[in-house]
């Protein structure tokens, strides 16, 4: 027998592609599956003249060779990425009680809605006459989002919550400028999400932190001290990131408004209050929504989402353009740009297909359904929190809304087991962990948001899993938790090494 051809065994000349079922094995990087000259692509027959590269591009501009990319068969491509998916948890696999993220079930209906060719095939620069369906969809979505938030007008351009925040702050800026007032600071509670201060900086403002009081709510006295004629406004999440409703909201709004500031609503937690309370009715002037939280746009491993911003009447003229509007005379939709627009936020019209998902989700639920969504979300969280009363500390123990923050400080003190370890151990019990170490004002924070789409039984099972894991830690001194997770494609990863070696792209060995 001849010897095995080297070509078939050298690393980086096309690795084998197969996997143990739900491989615990390391999966090759797609470049490692590459074999020079292999190809899976095909292109339509066009009948075009077959000019070669040199005839098409002058030497000065032409590369010598195309960029290095993997050369794999379609079969290996499919196997590779399918195996990658088998190494990933998802809402579709089970509960995902990740606080602040609203990992609810994303109806399959919305996948279909956002992939109809009449929507996906439309070029964003086509004239409005050719895109009446899209303009109508966007206009109706703006309208319903305003109804849900109690605002007057909206822009759908921001691609995510953080971009919504920046948009909102730029609106704030434009409004103050129009008033002829120069403001330099934006107030933000210490419990706020990191995007809030980061957006403030990008908007050219300075962040001023408002402390929380013993209840976990905005410290009214401190707020009174902080509001002055330098503040452009206050950014608030309500319910806040502790899952608590800011019950002093009317007074907060009064204080900010009296000082000439605007009130910004971070809509990350809107899921808790749909149909029950509206930001507009609480006095907010600017509201962003995370459609990928409240309105079931799937998170896609980190995006895309959509972060529309709705505003009170007095801010409408500053909104980004173009916006869709129904022309009463012709009964056709047209694009309009508000007179004092801050300008575009997005290269086109926002994450349009994500907007179509949210639109279909809203149609399916309706006003009544959205309210039920909020109620069930709060009920699940309230139930789970009560079930865990003896398991965790609750430094801020007001009635929770759609999520709650427990502290594992008690567990850590008794056993040395940190929130992180408990989280990793919970994975082995079949649940995605809660958000860890946020908000910053809670020690060993575990932020739990079951969402409304989990059944009561699943919520109860989560409670039991938490109980088990904590009881075990108390019993074994953390042996199991420290070793966790052991049921995942990889065990505990080394974050420090990653930052140290900084391998950010694949290179041949």
């Amino acid at each position: 027998m001849s010897s095995v051809p080297e070509l078939l065994t050298t690393p980086n000349a096309g690795r084998a592609s197969s996997a143990a079922v739900i491989g615990r094995d390391r999966e090759p990087v797609v470049f490692e599956l590459s074999s020079p000259g292999r190809r899976g692509w095909s292109f339509r027959a066009t009948g075009m003249p077959e000019w070669d590269a040199a005839e098409l591009v002058a030497d000065a501009h032409r590369n010598d060779a195309p960029p290095v990319l993997p050369e794999v068969s379609e079969r290996d491509l499919v196997a590779h990425f399918t195996r990658l998916t088998s190494r990933n948890y998802s809402v579709d696999l089970g509960a995902y009680p990740l606080g602040s993220c609203t990992m609810k079930y994303n109806p399959k209906l919305c996948d279909v809605a956002s992939s109809v060719p009449g929507l996906t095939g439309v070029h964003p620069a086509q004239p409005a006459e050719q895109t009446q369906g899209w303009l109508r969809l966007l206009a109706e979505l703006e309208d319903v989002l305003c109804r849900v938030t109690g605002m007057t007008a909206a822009t759908l351009q921001p691609a995510a919550g953080a971009q919504g925040e920046l948009t909102g702050l730029l609106l704030m800026r434009a409004w103050h400028a129009a008033q002829g007032s120069v403001r330099t600071k934006v107030l933000i509670p210490d419990s706020a999400h990191g995007t809030n201060p980061a957006s403030v900086t990008l908007a050219g403002y300075q962040t001023v932190e408002v402390p929380s009081d013993a209840r976990g709510l905005v410290d009214l006295d401190a707020l009174r001290e902080l509001v002055d004629d330098e503040i452009a406004g206050l950014m608030l999440t309500n319910p806040n990131t502790l899952g608590l409703f800011e019950t002093d909201i009317v007074e907060i709004a009064r204080l900010v408004h009296d000082a000439g500031g605007l009130l910004y609503y971070d809509g990350a937690n809107l899921n808790a209050i749909l149909g029950e309370v509206r930001p507009g009715d609480m006095g907010f002037d600017i509201v962003h929504m995370n459609l990928h939280k409240t309105f079931a746009v799937p998170h896609g491993g980190g995006g895309p989402g959509a972060g529309p911003v709705a505003v009170a009447a007095r801010l409408e003229e500053f909104l980004p353009g173009p916006r869709p509007a129904l022309d009463a005379a012709t009964n056709r939709y047209v694009w309009t740009t508000p007179p004092r627009s801050i300008g575009r936020i997005h290269g086109w019209h926002g994450n349009a297909l994500a907007l179509a998902r949210a639109y279909s989700y809203i149609l399916a639920n309706g006003g009544d359904g959205l309210q039920r969504v909020a109620e069930a979300a709060v009920l699940n969280a309230r139930y789970l929190k009560e079930r865990l009363r003896d398991v965790f500390d609750f430094p801020y123990d007001e009635p929770c809304m759609h999520e709650f923050v427990g502290s594992a400080a008690n567990v850590k003190k008794a056993t040395g087991v940190k929130a992180l370890d408990l989280a990793k151990r919970l994975i082995e019990e079949g649940f995605h962990p809660p958000t860890m170490y946020f908000p910053l004002i809670v020690d060993e924070a575990l932020m739990v948001e079951p969402t409304e789409t989990e059944s009561p039984q699943t919520v109860e099972a989560m409670a039991q899993a938490f109980e088990r894991v904590v009881a075990e830690a108390r019993a074994d001194g953390g042996a199991a938790a420290h070793a966790a997770p052991r049921t995942t494609p990889v065990s505990r990863v080394d974050e420090v090494l990653a930052a140290k070696q900084l391998r950010l792209r694949w290179t041949p060995e």
Partner: protein
Amino acid sequence: MGHYVPHTEAELAAMLGFLGLESLDDLYAHIPDAVRLAGGLDVAPGASESDVLARIDALGAANQPAAGGFVSFAGFGAYEHELPAAVRALTFRSEFVTSYTPYQAELSQGVLQALFEYQTMISSLFGLDVANASLYDGASAAVEGLNLAAAATRRKVAWVSAAVHPNVREVIRTLTAPRLELREAPIVDGVTRWPDDLGDAAAVLVAYPNVLGCLEDVADAARRAHDAGALLVAYADPVAAGLLRSVGSLGADVAVGEGQPFGTPLGFGGPYVGLFATRQAPYVRRWLPGRLVGETLDADERRAYVLTLSTREQHIRRADASSNVCTNQTLIAIAAAIHLAWLGSSGLRELAVRCARGARYAREQLVRIPGVEPLADTPTLYEFGLRTPVPAATVLERLAEEGYLGGVDLAPHYPELGNALLLAVTETRTKAEVDGFAAAFEKAVR
């Protein structure tokens, strides 16, 4: 009423009972009446799945899609390309679609590795060391590029070529207004005319090819930028990278761009994906915006991936973060990675060649038409401008009646160019389609 809340009446009662509450309304009892909404939302009640889809279908039918409806020559930053079935099928695997940002690395190796591969491919396309794990779109990537340059140089002035896409320039204006000072370099015969003195610029932004499809002298722009102590930020077309020199090799410090051509349909402009790459040192550790996946080991010394350098990011550094981006466009980035792997080196070259062939052929047919002239004498790749004897809007209207989306009217963006039409030809157009189009065009410009 929707149909996604699982709780039965009996279960609601049991849970409320456990909490000592009597009704769902009681859950909100602590909220001041003054802000409670009485009577529910003024929004139509829920509809069945079929009814929703019927509504969506009707809206879709009220559009005339470029892809699938018209024979389209529209480009201008958004391109119709063939979308391989495998790319769509893999992208829409629900583990990719319904997972969150991979904060829990052990549960997220699929997304993390896909992003690591994406980073590798994008840095390869641009000839730079490191790409991040995606930004919102090309426009926001351009903004982040200028922000990085401003942070790295501690300067505030950015020179932007007028031949950067007008929407991108507008987004830049909107988002940098409170912080940066923008200067615009004009277009002369299709390419940017840079001023001799760039002053104390932080950044120079050039597009390659530019919005008119013309090939800029990127190396020259880089030299000028570097001479002035500025960074060169290149807004680079990733399809063109199959044929053109990489912007990294031409001296760009940061490459940004729009990743839509890979794996994503036109979709009325989104979700697309902002590409972002730069040199590792000195930019990555402190100033790179957005998420980054790094290779590491797990507790059993197996190769693994994890989000890294999060100290740059908003959730750690808050007001001092390199950017405010949190949710990005991961799924679209994964689609791009899958499409790029489907193409491979040879496929990307072939794609670029086919686009360029189609464009050359179309251009040759169209400029033969009396009164139709190229907008500039500069070489183009697969997008090009034409000057027409009648306003481009009129041409487009007439062509639409014949079933053609004839391109994009440049007049609203560049009135100084006169009757100017921008056309792109991708691998999706056949010679027969171009021939038909040229005939229709000839009539339309009369």
